[in-house]
């Protein structure tokens, strides 16, 4: 959530009309909304399923995984997340 708080101050000043209008939305966003609309979080099975669903819906050629948005994830958890992504999730999607 800390990442979204920081983001809202940047959006406020954005020359991109769409972004500036959404600054308020980002400032007041709830944990539940983030989980529902913006991120994919879970065990390998859930994440694989969500990524496949996202691919079916949007037709993606790849993702750039943002493993520590907000910079509050402890290093060991982030490393584990990357390892699971490469060793467990990616093989299921290829």
């Amino acid at each position: 959530m800390s990442g979204y708080r920081t983001l809202s101050t940047r959006l406020e000043n954005s020359p991109n009309r769409r972004r500036a209008a959404e600054a308020e939305t980002v400032r007041t966003i709830t944990y539940e909304e983030v989980m529902r609309d913006k991120v994919i979080i879970g065990g390998p099975e859930t994440v694989s399923k969500c990524l496949q669903q996202l691919h079916d819906e949007l037709g993606l050629d790849g993702i750039l995984a943002e493993l520590n948005f907000g910079a509050l994830i402890p290093p060991h958890a982030m490393t584990r997340s990357l390892q699971l992504l490469c060793e467990t999730v990616m093989p299921r999607l290829q």
Partner: protein, 179 residues
Amino acid sequence: MQVLPLCHPLRLAEETATIDQISRGRLLFGVGRSGNPRSYVAYGVPYSESRERFLETLEIVKQAWSQPTFSYEGKYYSFNNASAVPRPYQRPFPPIRVAAASEETFPSLGEAGYPIFVAVRSGSLSALAPDLAAYRHAYREAGHPGEGEVYLRLTLHIADTDRQRAMKPSRASCRATAP
């Protein structure tokens, strides 16, 4: 990821070509205008010039990468028989991906035939669908081969089990899909 309107094109062509050389052709050149005007203020570049400067800088970088010497007469930069050293490992040059966020950017990048990358900040993942459709439509209309390429910058965390995944419990296990 480079904010092109704030970079000197020749310098950028040389630095990125150096990365491409030492990585033996692993550079993916990500570029954008950035939606954050604060850095433009710091560099003394008006944000209103960002689109023009972006296109001009990208064109110069491509010429510097692909030609032994080049000349260019633009609004912001002019070069006469300039050469970038080294040239990239990949020929004619490394793949370019462009960040897209503004509504009008999607069709224009489709028309130009560039791969794009997108992110969800204020909207939802499902809400990207119309922008991606506009990109792909413009891409096809312009006669480029294939469907274009779309990469998503996505906040992702994987734990060993679903139970471990979050500091705060939530019922949602998967984001909602578009109706």
